[in-house]
Each structure stands twice: as C-alpha cells, then as structure tokens.
Symmetry: C2
Subunit: 281 residues, 2 copies
Amino acid sequence: MSDGFEILETHRCFGGTQGFYQHRSTATGTPMRFSVYLPPQAEKGPVPALYYLSGLTCTADNVTTKGGAQRYCAEHGLAFVAPDTSPRGDGVPDDAHWGLGQGAGFYLDATQAPWATHFKMATYTVDELPALVKARFPIDADRWGLTGHSMGGHGALTLALKHPERFRSLSGISAIVAASQVEWGRGPLRAYLGDDPAAWAEHDACALLRARGWHGDVLLDQGEADGFLDGLRPELFEAACAEAGVPLTLRRHAGYDHSYYFVGTVIGDHVAWHAERLYGA
Amino acid sequence: MSDGFEILETHRCFGGTQGFYQHRSTATGTPMRFSVYLPPQAEKGPVPALYYLSGLTCTADNVTTKGGAQRYCAEHGLAFVAPDTSPRGDGVPDDAHWGLGQGAGFYLDATQAPWATHFKMATYTVDELPALVKARFPIDADRWGLTGHSMGGHGALTLALKHPERFRSLSGISAIVAASQVEWGRGPLRAYLGDDPAAWAEHDACALLRARGWHGDVLLDQGEADGFLDGLRPELFEAACAEAGVPLTLRRHAGYDHSYYFVGTVIGDHVAWHAERLYGA
C-alpha cells in the first residue's frame, strides 16, 4: 500500500481486538506506530472513538499495555486510538533531555530548525491519523472524543480547542494546561516555535480557552500527590473555564501520583464520560 | 531490619495501594522483589489474599503493571501478592535459554548443581514470602487463594496440591498442567531435579491431582489461539480432574492468545472466583 500500512500485532482482548500498527506518515515523513482497540460492538458497524494522547517519554504502548482502558471500551462500545508522541528514528532530530525531541512532540507543528522537517504532530494527530483510521477501521470519524495524560492532556486540550469541529467531547488526566507558563512547556515551545510568545499562546490550553471557548463541558482529573504539579497547574485551567463560562468537572484525588496507576484508576470514568457524549444526540 | 525489607515504591490505585518491595530471602540466599496490592478494605482490618505466580521471563512487574487486577481486587476486598519467578543476580546461575535459570524457577526446590544453592522457589513461595507478608501487611494468612499464568499456573497448581492446608482456593490461566510430559517442563525438571522421573511427578500437576486430589474446585482458563498449547495441554488436566473427581471449570476462549491481553480479560473472573471462596464459610 502507498501509505505503508502494516499490522504489527493483534490480540483478542475483552471480546474485541487490540492491535498495533505502523504506516508511513506524510506529515512527519517517518514511519509512525499507533494502537487501536476495537470493542466487540465494532463487529456490527462503525463505533465512536476515544483518542488518547500520551505523555512525555511514552509511545502508544504505555497506555495500551498499562492503562486498562479496553475493559471499559468494551462495556461502552468505544474504539480507543493511541498515537505515538513524536516522530522517531535515526534521521529525526533529538535532544539529550527527555522533555524535547523524540518522545516529546507536544502535539504541535514545529516551525524552527532542526525540528520543522519532521515534528508535525498537530497535522499528524488531527488530520492524517484520523483519516487513515477512518479508512481502515470500523470507526465513525464524526464521533471522536479526545483525552490525554500529562503532555498528552496538553495535546488533547489544545487540539480540541483549535479544532472543535473534529472533536465532540474532551477530557484530560494530569494535563499540562498552560504550556506557555510552565517550565515543562516553555523550553519546548521556544525550541519548536521560536521566541515569539504570541506563537506560544496558540499552544496554551488556558489561553486558547479564553480566546475561543468550547462547545461542551470538560472533565479534568488530577492527583494531589503528583510530583509534577508545578508543570500541570490545574487551578489555572479552572480559572480559565470560569472566565470563559465553560463547564468544568475538576476532580482532585488525594494521594494519587502521576503514574499509570492513577491513569488506570480514572480511565474508566473518562471512557464513560466520552461514551455518554459520543452516543448522545 | 534483619530481613532487609525495603519499600521500593508505592502508588495509590483504585482507592488502595500498589507497592513494590524487596527483602533478603533466606530460602534463596538472594534479594527478592515482590509486589502487593492492598485494597481499600485493608484499612479496616486484614483481608484475604490472592497470590499470583507469573510465567517464564516475567518478574512481579508484568502482572502488576499489565494485568489490571487492582480494580477487581478493590471491588472484592482481596490483596494481590505477586512474587518474582526466580532468584536473580550476578552470583546466581543462569542459562542461555529463557526457559531455564533466572526468570524460570518453576516454583520448585532444586536438588542439582549448580541450581540447588539458590533455586528454592517452593520454600520461598509457600513458606517464606507468606510469612513475611503476614507480618508486614494487613493480610489474613489463613485465607489465601493461589493462581498463576503459564509457568505460574504450573506453580499454582502444584504448590496448592502439595500444600492444601495453605491454600483455600485455586485457579490457573494458560497453565502448564503436566510439566513432566511437555518439552517446556522436562528440560527444567531434569536440570533442577536430576534424571529420576519419580522426582518429576512431584512437580506435575496432573500426577499430583491423581495422587492427592483437591479439597475444592478449580477454575482454568485457556485461549484457543495460544501459540504454546503444546506446552500447556489443558485436556490432560481435564482428564485428571475427571479421574480424581475434582470439579473443574475449564473455559476455552476462542481467538485468545498467551499474552497479558488474555490475562487481563479473565483476571476479573479469577479475582471473583477466589473472593467467593475466601470470603465464604
């Protein structure tokens, strides 16, 4: 096939199928891996999808093996689609720090050298992968929900706010909500987009929410024992939602940290949240 | 402490606590790692435990990160205890093949050189770790259930049948049920125990069941697309149970393979099975 689509592995899981796939991305100019869980309901026709964007250092594998979303997706009839967090490979630039470069694409289209050639993760995530998934899987492209963890929460919030016509429902887990205001975000935004803070505001969920609003409500979960709270700042998103008049369900969980043990604990609620909105009117 | 007990990490998970621990084992003469999930119910007093033995190449980490048992244990009020599959370290013998040596202890006490010094996994699993867990965690040592996957299913079946006073309930997932009759088992049994087949029969679940019976019923799950069926042979256990008059629930699952996607799909039923028997009369 011209898109280089390959099935890497598939496994029966909770009555559906967990698959890992690879294709050649025109957006990034590299092979890209992703995973799709199809619930049992997909055997009867296209199902809505929950799109999960992963955090720094992760691939699609982390949430697929450790998140435990499949059980809930099988209950609710949602597909679960997980892309990688950046282009990868020998010809792709990288940085010695895990917070920039491979594994740290921040779901934006880079404009600065050496990143601009391959780091087109916004185009990849919003346009290319959904089109490929729609063409190859029984997934209803008109009913997509978007969520993510940490840097993936940043990706979910910013991409949904910039493309409200693509995403019907929205949530985040331990999300970076104000990338231009925190150390975790400012370094990569400067590297990928240059020194102009106006460019950064287009990749800051709080700034986008104030500027554009959102057509629905938002669910945000945060562990109170998260060691990275300085980079996440859920209170800033709470304030932005209040200003913008966007209904927010912000849940703070005592004792929970930033790990997949937290993601696994709350992912079922996110699947249910999106299912309610994607199967609703 | 004299037992070298250390907390390696803990995470809040489904209202309880997932921990990873290490101690110095007198049985193996090495440091040993294990994991314990304590459900929310453990805050009010000791809870029963489901002991999960892992398969070839695994540590305690595989099931803890990928098995998804915590949710079900939180629902049913069971602790989940996962030991390692062998002693490990530079001073511990190993083999170039993953089916023998480190990661492949087969839950027996080796009698042959060079294994006999450290490979005392039966003593470790039946005596030492439960005693340590009882002393350090709110777990009721009189209410233990035993399960495992693949080589760990072999461990669960053989150890429960040899120590029926220790284990109230029993199940297996994709278990090696007749180690002395399959290639996966014969090589390690010969290496660890020597050339006498009479010694092997003491580590063959089917032979033990015929010789000793079992005080309860057994749940066994098997994927029909498992690539390792030649080493598992659930039909032999079915026949042994029929001969011994032991009630067996053998479930064959079309399309499922040997992976943790299968374990995760059925682990909830195993947690429920053990909870019913451990909380019952």
